[in-house]
């Protein structure tokens, strides 16, 4: 049975969806992803849908679920690469997609996730370490 590959990039997880997600595959993706988020204490999930031609309410629900589950485990979700035709159709369909942030491409999506990272204590100390002349 096919599994959708999940890649690790630093504190983030990258998922590229390239096949039509039917019910069982989608549910597997949800659980695999959430396990991984937990395992590596991921801070962000990037879902690349640039190869997806059709997003119906089922797919929308999956994306929403992933975002909600990840947030519970303290990770942000960004969906990238939505095709224009899909965007227009989703607006017409009336799919809310709350809690799902979006970006144009993987690059911008990563930048967005980076900007949402909580500032760690080590970074704050670096600023104070400047030597006065």
């Amino acid at each position: 049975m096919e599994k959708i590959p999940i890649l690790k990039m630093g504190p983030f997880l990258l998922v590229t969806i390239q096949v039509d997600l039917y019910d069982r595959l989608a549910l597997n993706l949800e659980s695999d992803l959430i396990q991984m988020v937990n395992k590596i204490s991921a801070k962000g999930v990037l879902i690349d849908i640039s190869a997806v031609n059709i997003v119906d309410s089922f797919m929308g629900r999956i994306l929403g679920n992933i975002a909600n589950m990840s947030r519970i485990l303290d990770a942000q979700t960004v969906v990238v690469g939505m095709q224009p035709a899909v965007a227009i159709t989703l607006v017409e369909l009336g799919l809310p997609l709350h809690g799902v942030r979006t970006a144009l491409n993987v690059e911008k999506g990563m930048a967005l996730l980076q900007s949402m990272l909580p500032v760690t204590s080590t970074e704050e100390n670096t600023e104070d370490d400047s030597i006065a002349v």
Partner: protein, 125 residues
């Protein structure tokens, strides 16, 4: 086409895509049509365990369109008006399927009889 299990959905969507491309339908309209079809076929699978879908090419003057008729022998819908409201769902879904499909299609008709089945027809030009 006969739809009996969830694996039938993808070939069905591909078939609709094929026909749409053949009649030179624009990409956005193709996407809207297949998304609407996806919603309706899911309904058919979830509530009626499958059914039959008729794919037809229709013409109006110089333009061509596609008509999809979804027929099942499921439980039927008691209150059509209620079913067509956004957010109403008897399952666990978002409740966007029927009203969403209507918004995406150019023409939409539905008939249903409790205990006998449901038939939904959509046309996209």
């Amino acid at each position: 086409m006969a739809i009996a299990k969830e694996q039938d959905v993808v070939p069905f969507r591909n078939r609709v895509r094929e026909v749409a491309v053949k009649i030179k339908m624009g990409l956005v309209n193709q996407t809207k049509l297949i998304t609407a079809a996806s919603e309706l076929v899911r309904n058919m699978l979830r509530y009626a365990n499958g059914g039959k879908i008729l794919i037809e090419v229709v013409s109006k003057g110089r333009s061509n369109g596609i008509r999809l008729t979804f027929m099942d022998n499921g439980p039927g819908i008691a209150d059509i008006n209620l079913a067509m409201k956004d957010g109403y769902s008897t399952g666990k879904s978002l409740g966007l399927g029927l009203p969403g499909a209507r918004r995406l299609a150019d023409e939409f008709t539905m008939q249903s009889e409790v205990g006998k089945g449901t038939s939904v027809t959509i046309i996209k030009w």
